[in-house]
Symmetry: C2
Subunit: 197 residues, 2 copies
């Protein structure tokens, strides 16, 4: 068991065997980590937020909830969470067209590229960018269904632990969003860490 660094504004992927635990640590408490998971034996089967919400029947998972794939099979179960639970299932991973809409010209690091670069480092490519599980990302809703990009609420040193329900490839991106306040109002983006246990 060794600690793997997700470098600031970059992605990192790893192979995980069924039954292993994945601990994702957010040392400053303010760093959003986009997460994806793929069936190691069929990369067209992936963790799907739309299938997961239809299974646990919540906008946000809580401890004990299992995420499903696009084939409705269990892939990750949330087994521990010290963050307070603000993990978003609603929003797309940031990507270059998104930063264009936010007024950025030229290059901007983004979670979509980070996903594919992290997988490429393992020799893997996938045919789409699934909607991610946005760990530590605080997207509140109102009774009328209005959403907001809110500041993080996770305490420093916060972590989540997932159990792998199949042999899988997990991918993370330390979100480089520095325009909206989801990584804090300072726009500071940092590294994060995970361990396979």
């Amino acid at each position: 068991m060794s600690v793997v660094t997700i470098p600031a504004r970059r992605g990192k992927a790893a192979r995980v065997r069924a039954g292993q635990h994945i601990r994702v640590v957010n040392t400053p408490g303010t760093q959003v980590v986009d997460a994806w998971a793929f069936n190691a034996n069929d990369l067209t089967e992936w963790m799907a937020m739309e299938a997961s919400r239809a299974w646990f029947m919540k906008l946000r998972a809580t401890v004990g909830d299992t995420f499903l794939t696009n084939q409705r099979r269990p892939i990750l179960t949330l087994v521990e969470d010290t963050s307070g639970g603000a993990h978003d299932t609603l929003m797309a991973a940031c990507d270059l067209p998104r930063y264009r809409l936010l007024g950025v010209e030229g290059h901007h690091d983004n979670c979509r590229d980070n996903l594919h670069a992290g997988l490429a480092a393992l020799g893997i490519s996938v045919p789409a960018t699934p909607s991610p599980l946005n760990l530590f990302m605080n997207i509140p809703w109102t009774a009328d269904g209005i959403l907001a990009w809110a500041e993080p609420v996770s305490p420093p040193g916060t972590y989540t632990v997932f159990r792998a329900e199949m042999d899988l490839v997990v991918a993370f991106s330390a979100c480089p969003q520095d325009i909206l306040p989801i990584n804090g109002r300072t726009g500071r983006t940092t590294e994060a860490h995970f361990t396979i246990e």
Copy 2:
């Protein structure tokens, strides 16, 4: 302008030019219609609920809101809606594995197959099943983020109108869900209709 029938429990797709309007009619008021849209010139670009929510910042679109693709480009704008607005963006299209989880053995009609069959009738195939826009499907949420499969609330004869923001292929499925109450407690599933105007 002719009325196209989406047969009960089946799918239907059509080509639409930028600027045309698509009217989707729910004659009984109780029939959920899953909807997808694809860029006619690049079928890997599709209407994405996760990008759309991040743009209009709501769980449900209201009149004037524009849905975005997975490339963050406008694809459909909701321009008229007599339904009361209960259109779900959260739930995956029903599929055979979903009906297995609901206890069904053997075949069950499902929206995923309907999407691909509807496209196939136009000679089109797509590499994934995007999360659909579930028209007339009533998925309420609580302050705590708990979701429910609720009965339909659209009045009979209800309709929605969308403006196409690019040349696109639209696909609809008259949802065959007869176990959960989203098409009403009777489990009756019916045809629906659309026109390209």
